[in-house]
């Protein structure tokens, strides 16, 4: 049983991707009998190439991936370099950690409410500073270069990279290295970049790749904030996939392969950039330059990360405010009145999507946690350790763009006679939550003191008893945190829910995105607030349950505080 767990995990992680890619590749070359494609041909590619603005769409996607990853990584690296082991660092850490659980779409809506010409920032300075009494006709949100979309992605990827880097940091004893460099006269930031960063970067590299892949193929954030004429490639793909004309499915498949190529190209460009940066870094390292006057750079780095956190938090507050707003005319900074009317009106519409979101998230989480625990327990019993290549498989669903294989997965479900069912939807979510559960649970599991289990074993307890009574309850807090992460990831899934659910399994997320084009801020506020609130409740439960269960067990609280 247990011995099958690693195989099962690999099947869940890699299986749907391989099947999905295959079922994308075949129709991309004209062959897919279920859709009437009996012969291989290049017609889908010719049709794809004829799509207006295709290259611009692809370029926007490529650039978005690279710029988002670069800016987010630079902000995180500079802040760590300038402020590690300071009080400010710890407070930012506490501020940023919860932001990881905010779904991308909710953060993007919040940013739109903040930055739009009729948004809150403009209201704050109007009409006093600007003289505007009606919103200017500026294309801030949906700008054609995709800058706002990139901003929306950057503010969400900063917490992700920050926390990944933070987890990797202790293993490389940053304090000792930084102190050594400082004692040689290097500035704090220069010392960090010369000594700690070269060890840290390889450990977070896969996460950076995941950011590039995600940003270059994102759909929900792009719908909310991205350019529209033409839209980024992934957004256009979804349009073709849902086109009533079945022929468009072939074009969509070719487009999905193009998306795979765009993301791969972004990754290749990034790797070339890594090489160049590495060369420059080596030159600088032996140049003897100390960069001791770094105060401006430090202030900028703290400002950048605070600005990102502020943008997300202010945006979320605006979502809440809009959902409660009565009459709120431009350019008033605050609504005239607060009311529960919008909530009351939307409650019936919220019910079913809410139930589906919770049920799918819960089911996927339970399965993902079970598979992960089985794998870890198998490792513990056999003394095996997951090595580099297995870790690549773990990152596979985070690096292969969703838009490139989820459509193929839908087609293969169709071909296998499995329609849009609860089971297929949970399976699709499982692919994306399992990596996060494994990534967040592995480290705390390995950190547990093996002597507890040995003590139990030597008293006659079987391995199964030790698992259920010792190892698992002692790891309750990290297990629940992993489950909360998993639930948050599931809640945030847009594309797999939309495609695999085929519109029959609406979730809070798909409903919220569907509202984006309508622009009713009060209703969007309600749905986005619920989308943000669900993961938050998950984390609240993950914090409260161990606190209550171990209220009278001091060492259990200290261990995970």
């Amino acid at each position: 049983m247990l011995a099958a767990a690693p195989t099962l995990a690999i099947l869940v992680l890699a299986g749907p991707i391989l099947i999905g890619l295959l079922a994308t590749a075949l129709p991309a070359f004209g062959y897919f009998p279920v859709l009437g494609g009996e012969n291989f041909s290049l017609q889908p590619w010719r049709d794809l190439a004829a799509m207006p603005g295709l290259w611009r769409s692809a370029t926007v996607s490529l650039v978005t991936g690279l710029v988002t990853a670069f800016v987010a990584l630079a902000a995180v690296a500079a802040f760590m370099a300038g402020w590690s082991q300071t009080r400010l660092f710890r407070s930012v850490q506490h501020l940023v950690s919860p932001l990881l659980s905010v779904p991308h779409a909710a953060a993007a809506f919040g940013l739109a409410f903040l930055l739009a010409p009729s948004g809150w920032l403009m209201r704050l300075v109007s009409p006093e500073l600007t003289g505007f009494t009606r919103p200017p006709d500026w294309l801030v949100v949906h700008d054609s270069l995709g800058l706002t979309m990139m901003a929306g992605l950057i503010v969400k990827e900063i917490p992700f990279l920050f926390l990944i880097a933070l987890a990797a940091l202790p293993q490389i004893r940053p304090r000792d290295y930084a102190a050594t460099a400082t004692s040689l006269g290097y500035g704090r930031m220069a010392g960090f970049f010369h000594t700690v960063w070269p060890q840290l970067y390889p450990q977070i590299r896969l996460a950076v790749f995941a950011v590039i892949a995600y940003s270059s193929s994102v759909v929900d954030v792009a719908i909310i904030l991205g350019p529209t004429n033409p839209a980024p490639l992934a957004v256009r793909l979804v349009g073709w996939m849902n086109d009533p004309d079945l022929k468009m499915r072939f074009v969509a498949s070719a487009g999905a392969l193009l998306q795979l190529g765009v993301t791969a190209a972004a990754l290749v460009l990034w790797i070339v950039g890594e090489k160049l940066a590495g060369m420059a870094h080596r030159k600088l390292r032996v140049s003897g330059r100390r960069f001791a006057r770094e105060q401006p750079a430090r202030i900028v780095s703290a400002g950048a990360i605070s600005l990102a956190a502020f943008a997300v938090i202010a945006g979320l507050a605006l979502l809440a405010l809009w959902s409660l707003a009565g009459y709120w005319a431009f350019p008033d900074a605050l609504p005239h009145s607060l009311t529960l009317d919008t909530w009351g009106r939307q409650l019936p519409a919220l019910g079913r999507p809410f139930a589906i979101t919770v049920a799918v998230g819960f089911a996927a989480t339970v399965v993902a946690v079970a598979i992960t625990l089985a794998c870890l327990e198998f490792e513990t019993r056999t003394g095996a350790r997951v090595k580099g290549r297995a870790l690549m498989i773990l990152y596979l669903p985070l690096i292969v763009p969703q838009a490139s294989f989820v459509f193929g997965l839908q087609l293969s479900f169709l071909w296998a006679g499995l329609g849009a069912s609860f089971g297929t939807l949970v399976l699709a979510h499982l692919v994306f939550v399992l990596p996060y559960v494994m990534l967040s649970l592995t480290e705390p599991w390995h950190a547990a003191d093996p002597r507890y289990a040995r003590a139990a074993n030597s008293m006659g307890a079987s391995d199964n008893l030790v698992f259920w009574c010792i190892r698992m309850p002692m790891a309750l807090a990290p297990i629940l945190v992993a489950a909360a992460v998993s639930f948050a990831v599931s809640v945030g899934q847009y594309l797999p829910t939309l495609l695999i659910g085929a519109g029959r399994w609406p979730t809070i997320t798909t409903e919220a995105i569907a509202l984006a084009s309508g622009g009713d801020r009060r209703v969007i506020g309600v749905f986005a607030f619920v989308q943000m609130g669900l993961p938050f409740i998950g984390f609240l439960v993950a914090t409260l349950v161990p606190a209550v269960a171990f209220a009278r067990r001091r060492d259990m609280r200290a261990a995970h505080a």
Binding site: Y452, R454, N457, S458, M459, G460, D463, I470
Partner: protein
């Protein structure tokens, strides 16, 4: 009851760490001494059945005449005490003891009585519902010993269990452990780097490394 170590040889990457033949009679103590890194804890891991797969080992461990070398750790009846008391932090002191009491005919109240009696014996009367974290170092050590004894072991393996106690407590706990082992006629394999432990144990001494 006796514990026999018959031509035990433990190797790491081809290098022999330990080579030992010994016999420990009921209530006797064999003290294995050596600096850290000499492999003395590895010997205990081997006897208890927790040897890391990186090591290779040969030889036979017999407990009460039965070869236990191939048995899984939980069937060996070689109870182990570590440097730290390792009381399970998510259970009360009483639950820690009940975890050790063997199932079978000991049902309900009888199991509880066994645990309470063990607490009395260790001078921990009334500690059943306590959080282990609230116990002093000496109290934890005694609770850990009682827990191990409740599992009805046939031998006791001690991995420097006194090294973290302060000096005046150390000798008391040490005497308590050896006394309990003697009463129950348990063979004891003690690993330590403290010569005072060996003196107090008063049995055979083997020095490694």
């Amino acid at each position: 009851m006796s514990l026999e170590l018959d031509h035990i040889s433990i190797r790491l990457a081809g290098r022999e760490l330990i080579s030992l033949t010994a016999s420990i009679g009921p209530g006797e103590v064999l003290t294995v001494m050596g600096p850290s890194g000499s492999g003395k804890s590895t010997l205990l891991a081997f006897v208890a059945g927790f040897l890391d797969p990186a090591f290779s080992a040969s030889g036979t461990v017999r407990l009460d005449g039965q070869d236990i070398s191939q048995l899984p750790a939980n069937l060996r009846r070689t109870a182990m005490l570590f440097q730290d008391p390792m009381l399970f932090p998510h259970m009360s002191v009483g639950e820690n003891l009940l975890f050790a009491v063997r199932a079978g005919k000991n049902q309900g109240t009888e199991r509880r009585q066994l645990a309470e009696a063990a607490l009395d014996e260790a001078g921990l009367t009334g500690f059943f519902g306590r959080d282990p974290a609230t116990l002093s170092g000496g109290q934890k050590a005694r609770a850990a010993l009682m827990r191990v004894l409740l599992s009805q072991p046939k031998a006791l393996l001690l991995d420097e269990p006194f090294s973290k106690l302060d000096t005046d407590r150390r000798s008391k706990i040490r005497d308590f452990v050896f006394e309990e082992a003697k009463q129950r006629r348990l063979p004891v394999l003690l690993v330590t780097h403290d010569a005072a432990d060996a003196d107090s144990a008063g049995g055979q001494v083997v020095t490694l490394g």
